[in-house]
Amino acid sequence: MRILALIAVIITGAILIYGTQDMPDWADPQSPASTHVSPRYIEKTLEETATPNAVTSVLADYRGYDTLGETTVIFTAGVCCILILRIRRRHRK
C-alpha cells in the first residue's frame, strides 16, 4: 500500500515538473499574470481609493464581496465545529 502511494506521488510529481517548462520564468516582469489586470490596480489605487497599500485597497475596496464571502466561510466552519464537538445530553424518561 505504501509502495502504491509512493508510485502515485512520483507520477504526479513528474507530470507537474514536465508542465513547468511552459511556465514563464520565475520573477519575470513580462509574465502574463503581471501584465494583464494588476497594472491598473497599482496605477489607479491612489487616486481612486486614497490608499497607498495596493493589497488593502484591492482586498477591501475593489473585491469587497470576496472578503464578505470569506467571513461566511469562517462562520460556517465555526458552526460546523460546534455541531461536531458538542456534548449531547441524554433525555431522562
Binding site: A5, W26, E70
Partner: protein
Amino acid sequence: MFDFIISKYNYWIYIVLMMIGFYGMIGKKNLIKKVIGMNIFQTAIILFFISTAAKRGGTLPIIEHGHGHEMQAIEAASYVNPLPHVLMLTAIVVMVSTLGVALAIVIAIYKRYNTLEEEEILKHKI
C-alpha cells in the same frame, strides 16, 4: 541549460513540497499526520501562487510618497503584483477553517473508536 535551471528551480522545489504533502495525505496511516500533510500541501500551493506575483526589480506593493506629495506617474513595473497576494490572503483563512473542521472530526472519531490509526478504525464494522 544553466539559465533554464536558474529560471525554473523554484517551481521544482515547490512541486517537491507539494508532493511531500500529498504523500503525507495518502501514505501515512495516522489521522493527525494526514492533516499535517494537508496543511503542507495547501501551504505549498499558496507559495506557488505568491511566486507568480514576484517581479525582478519590484518592491512591495505600497505606493511610495502616497500622501502629501504631488501626484507622480506610477510605474506598474516597479511594484510587485498585488492581486495574487489578495487571493492568497483569502486562501490562508479558508485553510485555517478547513484545518479546524478537520481536527474537530478527528476528535469526534477518537471519541468513538478510541484510536487514531486508520487500520484499527477500519477493523470496526460500523
